[in-house]
Symmetry: C2
Subunit: 220 residues, 2 copies
DNA sequence: ATGTACGAAATCGTATACGATCCATCATGC
DNA sequence: GCATGATGGATCGTATACGATTTCGTACAT
């Protein structure tokens, strides 16, 4: 009858809205309101919020309520740093399993990225950029690492604000670095080298943000 | 009146029991039973289980129920691999903040470890080993990474089985590798080098397990 | 004007209740 | 004997209800 439970529906709904930015950080999540909108009672909504809390997407205060995790520059940058580490590992682990078709798709996506550079649209760039990296690490044989990458992205998406959407010139470098990464993968470079390159690519972006925030570059 | 909510009590209770091994993997968590034991209704227990599910400690199947995440050799090893990556990064990031006192404490713990080698007790060794590593990475400036390390340990503790408690000879190597790591830290080696050493140390343990399971060593 | 006390409204936390679903057991037919 | 289908019990999923707690506005005293 019902394919998914109401608590899962609530979880998906809220999760999507936070990721899409429809629910801005700091927004107050009132149980009754959400329940009314979903056409259910508060119990499933509470469960959904508990899950979101465990993932760090919302803050839950006893007897006060839940709010979308607030934008915290520091946390945002820390999450990026974490992601650079995890995604580097994921890419290295997935590399031996990449088929020529996978690489071809990744190259095609990167060409699309290159085209967006002339008429830059941050949202589209981010979207394609995610697709590019996902293509490289998606068949990582360690599901645990893959899960962490996905969670990391969810957090970043939830916290993304206009102030971080674009660092001038970074997009051009990014596309070029993608080329380098693809070449490494095509030549079957050792795992360690791939990991270093993938992480460095992410760290470069992180450092661009850090520099914009007047902070020293990442130590790793 | 009530310091913590019942759902948090339930969460803590179950979390502790799983970590301590009192609840073995595969154990069926029946809402009503747990609720009765806690002296509360099922609603808070459900919330607690949702949180545990989000952390990967329990499996939750719709209309069927929750079970403690089952022992899965593959998942166990994957979690170790993940931890080697995260903990390496955490150690590298924490290294510049280590005080001589911190290093002294770590050395003392490693000496305790060395002493246990003569009359080997796997449980005590594991406990001290955790203390040693925690001393090195505990003041990692990236709370997100630190959180992942803690969660990784919780998962490993929850899944630990007798079959993985001990790989012959590994403990001796481990203590020696600790010495090497301490020396690196004392001389203020670059972050990259520390990360590699910390990760390699973990990867060696992982590979010992993999070898025992007749599998090839980790690629990273 | 500022701070405090109080009361009302909003919201949370959880017990209870009951329908929905699943699983095990047993009966039935082949 | 084995497959198939019915039945009862166990368990889950969630609506509802109500007490507990916080928050906010208002009145009052300083």
């Amino acid at each position: 009858m019902m394919a998914t439970s109401k608590s899962e529906q609530a979880y998906t709904l809220l999760s999507d809205r936070i990721a899409s930015g429809a629910l801005v950080p700091g927004y107050r999540l009132v149980l009754g309101t959400i329940a009314a909108e979903l056409g259910c009672s508060v119990v499933p909504v509470r469960e959904a919020i508990r899950k979101l809390e465990a993932e760090g997407l919302v803050l839950f205060e006893r007897n006060v309520g839940a709010t979308v995790a607030s934008v915290d520059t520091e946390l945002y940058l820390h999450t990026m740093q974490t992601l650079s580490v995890i995604e580097g590992a994921a890419t290295a682990l997935a590399a031996p399993l990449l088929t020529p078709e996978d690489l071809g798709r990744a190259r095609a996506i990167n060409e699309s990225l290159r085209q967006t550079l002339t008429d830059f649209d941050p949202r589209r760039f981010t979207e394609l950029n995610n697709q590019f990296h996902a293509a490289l690490y998606e068949n990582c044989p360690n599901p645990h690492i893959l899960d962490l990458v996905h969670r990391g992205w969810a957090r970043l998406a939830a916290m993304r604000t206009s102030s971080f959407d674009h660092v001038p010139g970074r997009a051009h470098h990014s596309v070029a670095e993608h080329d380098g990464l693809l070449d490494l993968l095509a030549t079957g470079a050792p795992a360690e080298e791939i990991e270093r390159a993938a992480r460095q690519h992410r760290t470069n972006t992180l450092n661009a943000y850090l520099a914009a925030a007047g902070q020293p570059p990442s130590a790793i």
